[in-house]
Amino acid sequence: MFHWLEKNPFFFAVGVFLVIAFAGVIEILPSFAEASRPVVGLKPYTVLELAGKNIYKNENCITCHSQLIRPFKSETDRYGQVSLSGEYAYDRPFLWGSRRIGPDLHRVGNYRSTDWHENHMMDPKSVVPQSIMPAYPYMFTKMADIDTAYAEALTVKKVFATPYDAPNGTKLGTLEESRAAALEEAKVIAADMKNKEVKDAVARGEIPQIVALIAYLNRLK
């Protein structure tokens, strides 16, 4: 048998493929069903939060920040309760990260506030003098992409049956409705902010990226 494989490139290739593929099948598939159940009370992201999450995703904040609190006392003391699998049920993609150049952010919403983030994202050194985090001033002038976030929510609702519009859940509705809802949420956040440009933009009915990002960070609890 072995001899034959060595001489037949095609079956050789099939053999290699089977060997490498089956590991994946056994390793990954069975845990799929278990791991995807959301924890009780977990609501899907609102459109504004999703827009913020997309900024987090597109800017690759995961290069410096994890979102995974491991079961050690030193971590739970520092960041809060251990992360549970079901808490990530609506995270597509997952944003655990692999490197903590900055601190874990999985529960940052518990101990940082809107105005703290505002100052920090504008200029991290003004809040933490030794910080090496880059400043993101352009997020105060660029607008968040609410439409894409809506498209994403609609997609996960349709394709993965994410419970939008369920009783007591997150409401999605039509594009117009979600734009309006996102703006309402943004107004609440902007009320806690000082930056004049941001306040003006929200008053005009536009939503700067920073507002969406803060909505997302505040939700991380």
Partner: protein
Amino acid sequence: MINLVEVQGYARIIMTIVLVIILYGYILHLYRSEKKGERDYEKYGKIALDDDITSTPVEKNPNLHQKKEGEK
């Protein structure tokens, strides 16, 4: 309902054993066929050393001059 994770555990352990057997079978195969004089594996090392386009192949590909067999 059977617990999927348990199935996974068993599948994994069984497959590991199977693979170990195959791998050891392969070692045996390699050394046996060389002892019996059926094949000489080390000669394939020459494929890299003597690799001009005009060199004689270590083993000629028989399919080349015949009709193609579906093994591409």
